[in-house]
Symmetry: C2
Subunit: 200 residues, 2 copies
Amino acid sequence: MTTKRSPGTADRILDVAERLVQVRGFNAFSYADVSKAVGIQKASLHHHFATKTDLGVALVERYRHAFLAALAAIEDDAGGALERLERYADLYRTVLRKRRMCMCGMLAADVATLPEPMRSSVAAFFAENVAWLSRVLAEGKKRGELRFAGPPAAMAGFVVSSLEGAMLVARGSGDPGHLDEAARLILSSLRGVGARTRRA
Amino acid sequence: MTTKRSPGTADRILDVAERLVQVRGFNAFSYADVSKAVGIQKASLHHHFATKTDLGVALVERYRHAFLAALAAIEDDAGGALERLERYADLYRTVLRKRRMCMCGMLAADVATLPEPMRSSVAAFFAENVAWLSRVLAEGKKRGELRFAGPPAAMAGFVVSSLEGAMLVARGSGDPGHLDEAARLILSSLRGVGARTRRA
DNA sequence: GTCTATAACGAGATAGAC
DNA sequence: GTCTATCTCGTTATAGAC
């Protein structure tokens, strides 16, 4: 077991900046905001992340890494495809419950204003999600646990789109229920025709 | 028939600002940007829209109005529910083709930073869309043209979410195909079990 | 690694002439 | 209704002491 130290300054900066991006967007937070929340002067932030672009790139890459780790954790617990999809949707629910948007969903909106290294990292996030879901969907179909038409990658893209959109609309309309509804409809559709709702 | 004059300055300002919001977001465009594109000094903009909040409110309300007009046009052409849903999806495709995000989808991302009058207008946009879709879905189901479980409003919310999310992910991943795929899957799901893809 | 101080620029907004 | 000029503030970023 690795020794766990209290988070260093760079990590605390990333934690604060991550929250700010997910709530406000990349163009609507400043070094001054981070400075206040971390309890360190603005100039000191530049020692850890020389430019806002550097900070942004580090944010997306850490987020991608953490998300991939969460997906790996779902696979380790070795349930069926339906359970994995439920837990995938739960990742989104957890974010929304914190009144945040998925960081890469947020950055997808900001994409026209992002520096190139951030853009390609955001694109990679979606590609990684689609790849993981494609595997889950393909396996679930093979085992007869899931039912859907067309290639797994197309359905995987739809799952990501729908969950991201449901978070977005949930925030825009002030009704978190949109995400629950989306997760419910996607799952019940994949369960096939004689679908029963899951137990409470 | 009403006489159609060339657009006044206020309208030209709104046209430019609308594009900027849909591409860059509300926090990532400035009066200077609008000034350049319209060919008028920054100070003159304040004559038409005293504050950026005023401009923002006017933008969302004009957008809502235009969207409602587009929905009314779809109803006037009196096709079936499936055709109406296809044309609804086309509204989104047209926006994405211009490399824009739905204005209210964009503002939903920015929502934490928006002045209150804009926030409630964004929420109203989604409510209007869900209301319109609910009617189309309910009628289509009644006529046996559509097949889906649960209340029409829930499915309507899912349709909006999925299309908004598909636009978002399409931009974030640089692949417009996400929107086509989402539209295709939603429509084929609503067509019911023995679905055939529509003709090319 | 953190600080104070400041540079250099762009933001939203106002005053007042024409 | 548009202009020039200006104000005030916030932004990212740097210099240099400790």
